[in-house]
Symmetry: C2
Subunit: 224 residues, 2 copies
């Protein structure tokens, strides 16, 4: 398990080991591990999409910027998630580290080549893409149908489900990240949180630490 170091021009990649893999289907792909500092760009929209990533530790946001600085977060990636396997040869979106984080990078062509000789892998990739499509559609539903409070409730429930249904949540992302994910302002997100606290649906020991005390109430709120 020999370690070696990479000095990226931006200084974001601080260390890498060569013994890490991404598992897809029955196959494992050899890649390397990389660390990114908080707010570092992992890849940018428009750059060549020649690597696929698995998040090991930390949290990542997939983002689209508009001309005038407005920002929309499409998904949050949590440990175990695969990202960066985009449609074309160019990344459609930007990936940024929400917290200091650790990823495994695999050359995309090795996955594509593997899929050319392993139908089981190919099926796994189809399901991966389909589940991303479904997630994006659900996101569009939330943005289209729900009001501010309902969006935040839906976000909390979605996040809780990702954490194996635990009722004690440590949010890695700021209010601004949540706002840009739900297409709201920080103020609206904040008001929604305090309202849910007043209703005793949640408790907020700190602003990033959430206790879901009444899941039913959140589910009822979300459904509205």
């Amino acid at each position: 398990m020999r370690d070696f170091h990479i000095e990226a021009s931006g200084g974001n990649i601080v260390a890498a080991r060569c013994d890490d893999v991404i598992a897809l289907g029955q196959r494992t792909f050899r890649g390397f591990r990389a660390n990114f500092d908080r707010n570092a760009e992992i890849f940018g929209a428009g750059e060549p999409a020649d690597h696929v990533y698995r998040l090991v530790r930390g949290a990542v946001r997939i983002v689209r910027y508009t001309g005038e600085g407005r920002r929309q977060i499409l998904t949050f990636q949590m440990p175990g998630d695969i990202f960066g396997y985009d449609l074309g040869a160019i990344h459609d979106f930007t990936a940024e580290a929400i917290s200091d984080c650790e990823v495994v990078m695999v050359r995309r062509c090795s996955i594509d080549n593997g899929a050319a000789e392993d139908v089981r892998l190919a099926r796994t990739l189809v399901d991966l893409a389909k589940s991303q499509a479904l997630a994006a559609q659900e996101h569009a539903l939330v943005l289209g149908l729900k009001g501010a409070g309902e969006r935040v409730a839906a976000f909390l429930l979605q996040f809780a489900k990702r954490c194996a249904g635990r009722s004690e949540l440590d949010l890695p992302m700021s209010r601004l990240d949540i706002a840009d994910y739900l297409a709201l302002t920080i103020e609206s997100v904040s008001r929604a949180f305090t309202q849910m606290e007043r209703d005793h649906s949640i408790a907020l020991p700190t602003s990033r630490h959430v206790l879901v005390t009444d899941r039913r109430a959140l589910e009822a709120l979300q459904a509205a």
Copy 2:
């Protein structure tokens, strides 16, 4: 090219021929052709997803209904589009005929079986799923970042691109369909149309017939 008829319980499928196919990758899948009347349900959310569809003629909306009758349209399908190839064994959404339309249906298992022995097909399916994911993400961006007028402009430009960039558009869908796609009300959609007409960005010989007279203006409006 012998014709035969199917009588569905709902009376929606009025005729079918057995000589039609869906082409995917290098392969063609034998299926059968079916016609649906305007507003007929092609498949419903929750039903077994054991067929994949290609639209031949007409237009289709992919829809999600909430408990209280609210509705969100996720995509419009135009001739040539493939739909119904969902993630699980159950359809996540409902497909409805916007106009009288004609589809080719293929058993989903024949596609899945084909992918198990043809890697080129498998790659095509990955790209199909990825492009659906990208479309859903773009849709989420529109709903998240744009105001009413900008959404309608984006919709018109997207529709125009689908029609080989023609500037003369025949919208198959009602204002209500557009509203439910863009997460607006019919009134807001209507006002956006008339505003664009006042700005001489478009002309409206009839409400369903749109002439894009100033594409640049629409693009500028959309970008806002």
